[in-house]
Symmetry: C2
Subunit: 410 residues, 2 copies
């Protein structure tokens, strides 16, 4: 008998009819001989309705009370889903985050899960119940209601699966799996049967918004097999685990091509090249709460160096102001920047040890006359920054060059 | 420094504007040097909205999940009221029933409070917070969410006041106090400054629907001074305590005249007068869950007796059927009944020991040619059943005869 944790988002439980549909799916899973825990979000629109009420009082509602308010959204869903399951003849029990002891820190509106006491859930499961748990919420040490922030229901599901040592955590969404790249850009993009946690992290952080990064990190840390499935259509989805579609870790398999249109690049040139210079440049940026993505420093001539980094496009102006001030302090030659760039990344386990992949990538882009502005590599990805007008061309060309439309031979 | 518990019902918190008004009142109470605990209901309409959602799944929703669902209504209000208080510059903390350990039995949808752990609330009060508590809800021993049934917010307020040994429990409603009788029937009806718990119980059970009977019983049991006030208009309201407006318990003070239009009377005549006959007649009625109000048995001739009782008008037909069957079994002569009757009661502490009151009552009614069908007395009331067409006349005549429009001399 397997233990399955399923998670359904707000759109999947957006009406009584949809909730009854979810009840049916959940019961089917139980009838296949599984123990089932379901994590649900608030019905779509409900969280926004509650936030609007709060905003009539205060544009920035106090965090503790905000959590008390919005956590009711999921509580409504767990009650209704349990009623629907009971009505269809199976046993069900609903629980809020606090009731199943999802203990968090006290960072209201963005709390992090510390631990879960799964004893009560296990007992209920053993008595034949389907357990319905409110996603997105927990309780701090003092019994205050906390919420995990947007998308926190994915994290709740993974955390419950980890605590219960579940066989699989199934995330039901509006897509039927993880693709080699965005099918809207490359029509031949293919659904992956399997992808590793690390690859999924790169895919997610680079713009494939199928899963919350936090949930993937959590799943990877605790080794919870994660499956992305369509909430209505039948299908196997994509399994996120320690293995990808390749036969072994030694194969250099490209899983997909991610891209990110929200980047902007900044360069400070002609700064004195001495120890601590990176901190002097990036320190003020970090203090202003601007997140830095890629960082590249070139070896310079004449004891000087050029330093380039990328930030979110929304923070480009802010970062530029700060950098100009820093340049003055450091006596740098020049500050320049560009917010019409994109990052395109090849993602795949084991590619680092296969030098051929990087050179193929550069060759293919060169043939299309796409100028590469920055390059950055990690164990499982190679990213390039190019002018945004080349984005679709770069993604399509790479997808084709690495044969991603075809499944690798097992 | 006094400790005040205030309770606001659904209409009083029915919009953001009204919630902001309540925040203002609550803060004013604190600024007068009091510690303040506020108990609130769901915003008006919210509970019904939730029940309608449940009814789309099941006409009779499972009780445990029903409680999980409807308890969100009050949780929304506590968050919004706390935000409003914080926004107006005072400190506030909201708590659900479970969070302040309002422990109940496990009778979902109609749970009874077992005890309250007030330590957390007291600590918060001492730190200068206004405490905002969700009415109507609690938690059973196993941590399940329970609700106290309709009107349960009054009970929550009284229970909190009892646990905290509050100086006063203020119930804010849409009337400005308890009246000598219904002002719609008697325009000269007067607001009482004070009334005893016992009198209030009689007034409430006899049709003055200002307060929940349960809350008054609770307050009387724990000696919590209860005050009924208007939620918008300023005024002293009516204090419900151990004393009434009279100078001492020895005074025969009529506090008011209550009436109940929802009664019906049933008579079984010519039943053998032997021990156990009352049980034989009322047993089957009780088993059918029909509540009996007044019961009168006349001494009969020929070893036979007549037996009369009243029930709620909605249950008249049901009771009549049962009684006809009983009559057959007992060999009674006749069953008769009337559902066009009303009960009118004089209520006042100490009236039993003042024989003059009953005779005055009967004399006044006789002068108006009002036929008395039944009489029943208790320590603090004299009730008569009369034809419903005489109701207004009887109430007005009695109100006038006992001079209730004027405040008794202190």
């Amino acid at each position: 008998m397997a233990l399955i944790v399923q998670k359904y988002g707000g759109t999947s439980v957006g009406s009584i009819e949809k909730i009854e549909g979810v009840a049916k799916k959940v019961i089917a899973c139980q009838q296949q001989g599984n123990q089932v825990v379901v994590v649900v979000s608030a019905m779509s629109g409900e969280t926004n309705r509650l936030i609007e009420l709060a905003n009539q009082i205060n544009e920035v509602p106090p965090a503790r009370e905000y959590d008390v308010l919005v956590s009711t959204g999921e509580q409504v869903t767990i009650a209704l889903l349990s009623m629907a399951i009971l009505n269809q003849g199976s046993k069900a029990r609903s629980y809020t985050g606090g009731q199943v002891h999802i203990r968090t820190d006290n960072s209201h509106t963005k709390a992090r899960i510390l631990d879960i006491d799964e004893a009560k859930v296990r007992k209920d499961l053993d008595e034949g119940n389907i357990i319905v748990i409110a996603g997105f919420q927990g309780m701090d040490e003092d019994g205050n209601i906390t919420t995990l922030g947007r998308g926190g229901s994915d994290t709740t599901a993974v955390a419950m699966a980890a605590a219960l040592k579940a066989d699989e955590c199934q995330i039901y969404t509006d897509v039927d799996g993880v693709y080699t790249t965005d099918p809207r850009v490359v029509p031949t993009a293919r659904r992956l049967d399997k992808v590793t946690f690390e690859e999924m992290l790169e895919m997610a952080s680079l713009g494939s918004k199928v899963l919350q990064i936090r949930a993937v990190e959590f799943a990877g840390k605790y080794g919870v097999p994660l499956r992305v499935l369509h909430s209505v259509e039948e299908g196997p989805g994509t399994l996120i685990t320690y293995e990808n579609e390749g036969d072994s870790m030694e194969d250099a398999v490209i899983s997909g091509i991610a891209f990110n249109k929200d980047e902007a690049e900044l360069t400070i040139s002609g700064v004195p090249d001495h120890p601590g210079i990176a901190y002097q440049i990036l320190g003020p940026i970090g203090k202003a709460n601007v997140e830095v993505d890629m960082i590249i420093q070139n070896v310079g001539a004449d004891g000087c160096t050029d330093f380039t980094f990328t930030v979110h496009r929304n923070e480009y102006q802010k970062a530029l102001e700060i950098l100009k001030k820093t340049a003055k302090d450091l006596g740098a030659r020049e500050v320049s920047g560009d917010d019409t760039i994109v990052k395109v990344s090849l993602v795949g386990v084991g590619m680092r040890s296969h030098a051929g992949i990087a050179s193929t990538m550069f060759e293919v882009l060169a043939k299309e006359n796409i100028n590469i502005r920055m390059i950055s590599t990690s164990e499982i990805k190679i990213s390039v920054v190019v002018d945004e007008k080349y984005m679709e061309l770069a993604v399509r060309t790479l997808h084709n060059a690495f044969g991603l439309e075809e499944k690798p031979a097992a």
